[in-house]
Symmetry: C2
Subunit: 290 residues, 2 copies
């Protein structure tokens, strides 16, 4: 069993990005500039945005965070987005989700210029992904693809079972892995809350992407010997340690890992790969604009 | 075994659309207006466009066909599209594919105003479909969904195996059937040219969508008893009749049909449902604009 070490992989890619940024700057080019809009004071959102800022500084990107109180109007937010759309110094930006309930998230996403939509959430970019055209692939599926590629895991002709059909993980990763291409050409089965007898599908899988949002859902008796398991879940569960909790994924790691050829740990698997994907998209946006 | 009669179903829906058009007109509203651009003189394209014109007249739509020679430039075509985009009298339009090789089809599709893109090929509409938002669903997948709905075929929790991953059939139907909703909630497996042992998947399927483009590909020993089979293929094969050919689908109908609970014939199954879907999209576009 080999660990798919997202932390190490992300660190290696960070060095590559940093080197590319230095090369751009040394030739007189602009540093890539990522902006983030943060509305309200959700703790998790603050943490995510802080991690993104830190990652930007590690690779030499410029970063800007626009913070607004939770009671701004949707109209106000849309106007701020318009400003970022036309700001020649901004290569890409994200609006940290979730937004306060009185703001329609889809309206907000639709307002982002697709060429600056480094989260890949705009329908144009979702459509391009589905069509197999070059686009900004959203962070989690892009991170998974990059991790599989980094470890040279063969996907062609493999049966991949995706657990979960969310718009940010399950559906895009299913669309990506079933397409023609280097990390693709899988036969893909998408399972979800309405699937009967999920185990009958996972037992057939060469590759399992667990993104169902249920802690430790995937058990040892649901996985065939030699499978590749990618765990997208991350949940705090009570633990007898100084934090009072520990992080677990959608996979019952201790029992499943011994059966796997490759498996991602939680934490340190898919998680670190998501931020690196946002950096890659921002670099791409900056290159497109240069 | 029950035939999924697309011809009868389409005729019934045509009457509903015609009644709705008359209701609109009797209240002083405009007739829905569909335009089609036809470039060159491909025989099949001419036939398709003629069928669409005929269907429009049957339901009381206004229709316009713009015909251009095969040697027009891409720039010229893009300008014609811009005119249709801003023409207040046009509710929706299509550009009949394929286009001559010197014209980039994706550039052309991207130029269509998504609110008039009744073929549902623009990345925005493809993205909305993937996201589960209301949109123009392209004709073949929309026709399949409508046919399954018309016959009250239960899809929730069923295992649907889609053969083929094309952007106009396989991928959108897989995305639709795996989504939450009335005709949805399937566990979906997408098989394609790189799938190993396709039979091992089709034998598990409650519903098979055959869109692989290989005549009579699906044989009796690949289908379980009681399956629902939807045949999207249509190919001419030589036959000893006055035409010298007959039409067959991707399913070996004669041997597969006896095992099925429901099956589409070819012709008269999915085919007639596609044009009706274009009419439904055009009516929707007209309603959105009213």
């Amino acid at each position: 069993m080999i660990l798919l070490n997202g932390k190490e992989t992300a660190d290696a890619i960070k060095l590559e990005i940093a080197a590319e940024v230095e090369a751009i700057v040394s030739k007189g080019g602009r540093r890539p500039h990522l902006a983030a809009i943060l509305v309200g004071d959700d703790g998790a959102s603050r943490t995510y945005v802080a991690s993104k800022e830190k990652a930007c500084s590690q690779v030499g990107f410029k970063s800007t965070v626009l913070r607004f109180p939770a009671d701004i109007t949707e109209q106000f937010l849309l106007e701020e987005i318009t400003k970022l759309n036309v700001d020649a110094d901004i290569d890409g930006f994200i609006v940290q989700l979730p937004l306060p309930k009185h703001i329609n998230e889809q309206n907000v996403i639709n307002a982002i210029d697709p060429s600056k939509d480094v989260d890949g959430f705009h329908p144009v970019n979702v459509g391009k992904l589905s069509l197999g055209e070059p686009t900004f692939i959203s962070a989690t599926p892009y991170g998974i693809i990059t991790l599989l590629e980094h470890y040279n895991i063969e996907t062609k002709g493999k049966h991949c079972v995706v657990l979960g059909r969310s718009n940010i993980v399950g559906r895009p990763i299913a669309n990506l892995l079933s397409q023609k291409g280097a990390v693709g050409d899988c036969t893909v089965t998408m399972c979800h809350s309405r699937t009967k007898d999920i185990k009958s599908y996972t037992l057939q899988a060469d590759i399992i992407i667990a993104a169902i949002g249920v802690p430790q859902f995937l058990k040892s008796d649901m996985v065939k010997e030699g499978a590749v398991v990618v765990d997208v879940g991350i949940t705090r569960i009570p633990a007898d340690n100084k934090n009072g909790f520990r992080l677990v994924g959608d996979v019952d790691f201790e029992t499943v890992a011994p059966k796997c050829s490759y498996i991602t740990p939680v934490p340190g698997g898919v998680g670190p790969m998501t931020i690196i994907s946002l950096l890659k998209n921002t670099l791409r946006a900056a290159r497109n604009r240069a």
